[in-house]
């Protein structure tokens, strides 16, 4: 053992660097050859580190206490300085409440399409979509007498006084407006009209019918042929020149350059196709509320983050809130100017684009920064157009929706404005403008392919469109500013709440520290008096009164009964107290009690209190996962109070005269008022206050979490939706100096 002690001493000296150079070299030699010694050194080093941590922890505890204490004092001293401590951090917000007020800026029904809204609208006003009298199932007649024509005619009977949409056996859809047919004398055909339709939409039918696919000497690629005749009482009718029938020919893909040819029967009974006209693809309006104007994958990403993507009020308000970055006076700053910015968005994954050979003049590799203004579309402009106002316009079409998807990806506001300011134009004309504005890159190729589809326009008076354009330009600005203000107000409000919450917590933690001190002091006094009687010792009476917090420290002495009793009280363990003057001993008894809360996972918050009958304060005891334990002083009787919360609902358990041992506590639900009454019966006002604090804290924690989750969602989405907005997360160096404490 002697050598062992010497070795320990040597290790200690080595670790604290006290060995002389000579000894150090010798020791290191030894160390290199002796693994057991190495292990011992490591263990000793570990113990030193552990002691170091214990030492620091107690130091930090002291700093923590004085921090909380001084903070309180300082707060009462000068409330203004507070903001410095608590408003560091940059926050963004949204909440259902803010969303609600944002929505006030347009009084439409965007978010809640009602049952009365027409579900699907078409340029031809059908009296009602479900009126079966206007849409007839095709009637197949027996083969027609002409033997050279093997295609059976389909005959429909329609009423010309109303609009009719009919669909054929092969899928051809005919839109026939009211009063579309004239009798031979030029009068409108009023009666039931037999419509005779022959269609050869696929290659087999075309060949069977012996139909040629030539125009003069040129071969034609065909997307289908059809023949329409109309008869009233057996007499042939002509088409009313003031109306147009629309035929939708089903096709797997829209091929550019398709034309409508008129067939002329030649002497050899073949058909020559003449007089080609470009197909006009009139746009079909749908309910604008059924379209998706959000940025690509916006809803997906909300769903992925665990939010309800079907709650349009929420998704709208979240998305529109980003408009705050687009106002004139706000923090819209772009990284685009910096050269290194390269778009994250790649178009290449979308395979439906068939780039035309002549269109892609420069490959993407060469076009660094080919999305020149790509900071995203202003959500306020989306908010403006995604409304009832823009029903029945170019924008309320699937075709526009498809383009908007790419406009979002491109992020160039001026391109979107192009569409909105030219609602009376054909979509393909607008596409060509986009093509002209984007001189290279994939957007160019993409919109060339859009243009080639020759998507037309929505028919309506152009004056109305002009008004809408003005409305758009004015409203977008208004909404942007309103959202920015709204967000600022919301931000301020939440900051205030956060600050108040911090304050309240600080005050409460200070109260808790004081109470624990008070309780220790009282218990110590009690123990000391009892022990002193037994040991025939006369303790110095600590100063009573206000300075409780300091009292235990001023009377501490070393190695006397006071000190032993103080340590025992602080440690709450059974301790033998020795009076060294007369050798008498006495044991202070503390015994363990364990409390197990049944089903702790059912509660958000559990607090367990012990009320010692001889002390004025309660003890809040610590524990986790529903297991709480404390050592009970045998001098006292204790009452147990347990209060838990699940949301607003309180649960409680009260038992008197707790003794050492194990307890299982099943909590009972109770109303807040009744709980207050029960606590009142115990005559412990501080316990009631603590409970009130807990009740507030549970609600406040919920508020805080809700707020923070929205802030986080907002931050994540912002990075992703508007990647070039400068990241404003606070840096650690912007800590402001707080006033020095006194």
């Amino acid at each position: 053992m002697r050598s062992e002690l010497q070795q320990i001493q040597q290790i200690e000296q080595y670790l604290s660097g006290q060995l002389s150079a000579e000894d150090l070299a010798a020791f290191e030699n030894l160390l290199a050859s002796d693994p057991t010694l190495r292990e011992k050194v490591e263990l000793q080093r570990g113990i030193h580190n552990g002691l170091d941590r214990i030492h620091w922890k107690s130091q930090i505890r002291g700093a923590r206490r004085s921090f909380h204490q001084k903070r309180i004092g300082w707060r009462w001293g000068g409330g203004l300085g507070l903001a410095l401590l608590t408003t560091v951090g940059f926050l963004l917000f949204n909440s259902p409440k803010a969303a609600h007020s944002i929505r006030l800026f347009h009084n439409d029904k965007t978010a809640t399409p009602t049952a009365s809204d027409t579900p699907i609208l078409s340029p031809i006003k059908t009296s009602t979509a479900v009126d079966s009298s206007s849409v007839f199932a095709p009637t197949i007649l027996p083969p027609v007498t002409n033997p050279s024509d093997p295609i059976p005619a389909q005959i429909f009977t329609i009423y010309t006084t109303r609009d009719t949409i009919l669909s054929s056996a092969e899928g051809l859809t005919l839109s026939i407006p009211a009063n579309a047919f004239l009798e031979s004398n030029g009068r409108l055909a009023k009666g039931p009209v037999q419509l005779l339709l022959r269609e050869a939409l696929n290659a087999e039918d075309i060949l069977k019918a012996g139909l040629s696919t030539r125009s003069g000497d040129q071969p034609l690629e065909t997307a289908g042929m059809f023949l329409i005749d109309a008869k009233e009482d057996g007499r042939l009718l002509t088409l009313n020149p003031q109306t147009t029938l629309y035929a939708d020919v089903p096709a797997n893909a829209i091929k550019p350059g398709m034309m409508l040819y008129t067939g002329v029967k030649k002497a050899d009974s073949t058909i020559d196709w003449i007089n080609p006209k470009p197909l006009e693809h009139n746009l079909v309006c749908v309910d604008i509320n059924m379209l998706n104007f959000y940025p690509p994958h916006y809803l997906d990403s909300i769903r992925q983050r665990g939010y309800n993507d079907h709650d349009k009020r929420f998704t709208d308000s979240l998305y529109y809130s980003f408009a705050q970055y687009f106002g004139s006076g706000t923090i819209y700053r772009s990284k685009v100017a910096q050269q290194e910015y390269s778009p994250r968005i790649a178009l290449k994954s979308d395979t439906f684009i068939e780039p035309r050979r002549d269109s892609v003049t420069s490959p993407r590799r060469n076009s660094v920064g080919w999305f020149p203004h790509s900071c995203g579309l202003n959500p306020a402009s989306i908010k403006t157009i995604w409304t009832e106002k823009f029903q029945h316009t170019l924008l309320a079409t699937h075709e526009f929706e498809e383009r908007l998807y790419w406009l979002h990806k491109c992020g160039d506001q001026s391109l979107l404005d192009l569409y909105i300011n030219h609602l009376d134009c054909n979509l393909y004309e607008l596409d060509s403008m986009v093509v002209a504005k984007t001189t290279n890159g994939d957007m160019h190729a993409l919109f060339l392919s859009f243009q080639a589809r020759r998507d037309g326009k929505v028919k309506a008076g152009s004056r109305q469109f002009q008004e809408l354009s003005d409305y758009y330009n004015k409203k977008t600005k208004e909404i942007t500013n309103a959202i920015a203000q709204e967000q600022q107000a919301y931000r301020d409000k939440m900051q205030t709440l956060e600050r108040l919450s911090e304050e309240k917590h600080d005050i409460h933690s200070q109260d808790s520290v004081n109470r624990a001190q008070q309780q220790l002091y009282e218990e110590y006094n009690y123990n000391l008096n009892r022990v002193a009687k037994k040991l025939g010792y006369h303790p110095k009476q600590p100063m009573p009164g206000q300075t409780v917090y300091r009292a235990p420290i001023t009377i501490l002495g070393w190695c006397n009964v006071d000190r032993q009793v103080y340590l025992a009280t602080q440690n709450r363990r059974p301790t033998r107290i020795i009076n060294q003057e007369n050798g008498k001993t006495y044991t202070l008894r503390y015994s363990p009690a364990n409390f197990h809360i049944l089903d702790p996972q059912n509660y958000d918050h559990i607090a367990v209190y012990l009320l010692p009958n001889k002390l004025s304060t309660f003890m809040r005891i610590t524990g986790s996962h529903g297991n709480f334990s404390e050592w009970l002083n045998d001098f006292f009787h204790y009452d147990l109070v347990c209060i838990a919360y699940k949301n607003e609902q309180a649960y409680y358990y009260i038992q008197s005269d707790i003794e050492a041992g194990d307890y299982s506590l099943g909590l009972i639900p109770i109303s807040a008022a009744q709980l207050d009454e029960r606590l009142n019966d115990l005559h412990r006002t501080d316990l009631i206050e603590d409970n009130h604090f807990t009740r507030w804290e549970v609600a406040d924690q919920k508020r805080h979490e809700q707020y923070m989750s929205v802030v986080r969602l907002h931050q994540q989405l912002r990075k992703w939706l508007f990647p070039c907005l400068i990241d404003d997360l606070p840096e650690p160096v912007i800590i402001r100096e707080t006033p020095t404490y006194k």
Partner: protein, 184 residues
């Protein structure tokens, strides 16, 4: 207080003033941790751990200030919290990117701290007397004679024996905690 002064205070053992000064960064750290899903208690724990690491590092004579202490403290706390959330979620994939830099700087310190925490646990389990004795001997560097007087041991020799026993228990328990000891 200037950073260099704080470091000097820590080195010269007057850490209470240094800690009081460092504690003013607590609200910022608390805000950060609460923003990333931590509770108030988490914030207290992480901040305490951050302070321990910073102070222990500052004691090391080879430690030189290359950034503001607040930056050190902030970044170690952020790192600790990232570590902690990673452990809680059993994954690092879904962690929000909180932009922690200086990872290498802190990883070593935190690893070392994990060992030290083990020792701390063992020492706390020894009982108050043993702990106090070892603290007085190693941290306050009192002579055994003074320790004997303070703690009520009859003689210096008793205190010495007691210290040996405590140390031996601690070593044995620590060895059990770490059965495979890495060689130096």
């Amino acid at each position: 207080m200037q950073d260099q002064i704080i470091v000097e205070l820590i080195r010269s053992g007057k850490s209470d003033k240094a800690l009081n000064s460092l504690y003013k960064y607590f609200p910022l750290i608390r805000k950060h941790i609460r923003n990333f899903g931590g509770t108030r208690q988490d914030a207290e724990d992480i901040f305490q751990e951050g302070l321990i690491i910073l102070c222990r590092k500052a004691k090391d004579p080879s430690f030189t200030l290359i950034a503001q202490l607040s930056t050190y403290l902030y970044s170690v706390c952020r790192y600790l919290w990232k570590d902690e959330t990673g452990r809680r979620l059993q994954t690092t994939d879904s962690l929000p990117d909180i932009g922690v830099g200086d990872e290498e700087l802190w990883q070593a310190a935190i690893d070392e701290e994990t060992h030290a925490r083990l020792a701390e646990k063992v020492l706390n389990g020894l009982g108050d007397r043993c702990r106090e004795l070892l603290l007085l001997f190693y941290k306050s560097q009192l002579r055994l004679k003074d320790i004997a007087q303070r703690m009520g041991y009859s003689s210096e020799n008793t205190a010495k024996n007691q210290k040996y026993k405590c140390l031996e228990t601690a070593r044995t328990q620590l060895r059990e905690q770490k059965p495979t000891f890495e060689t130096l």
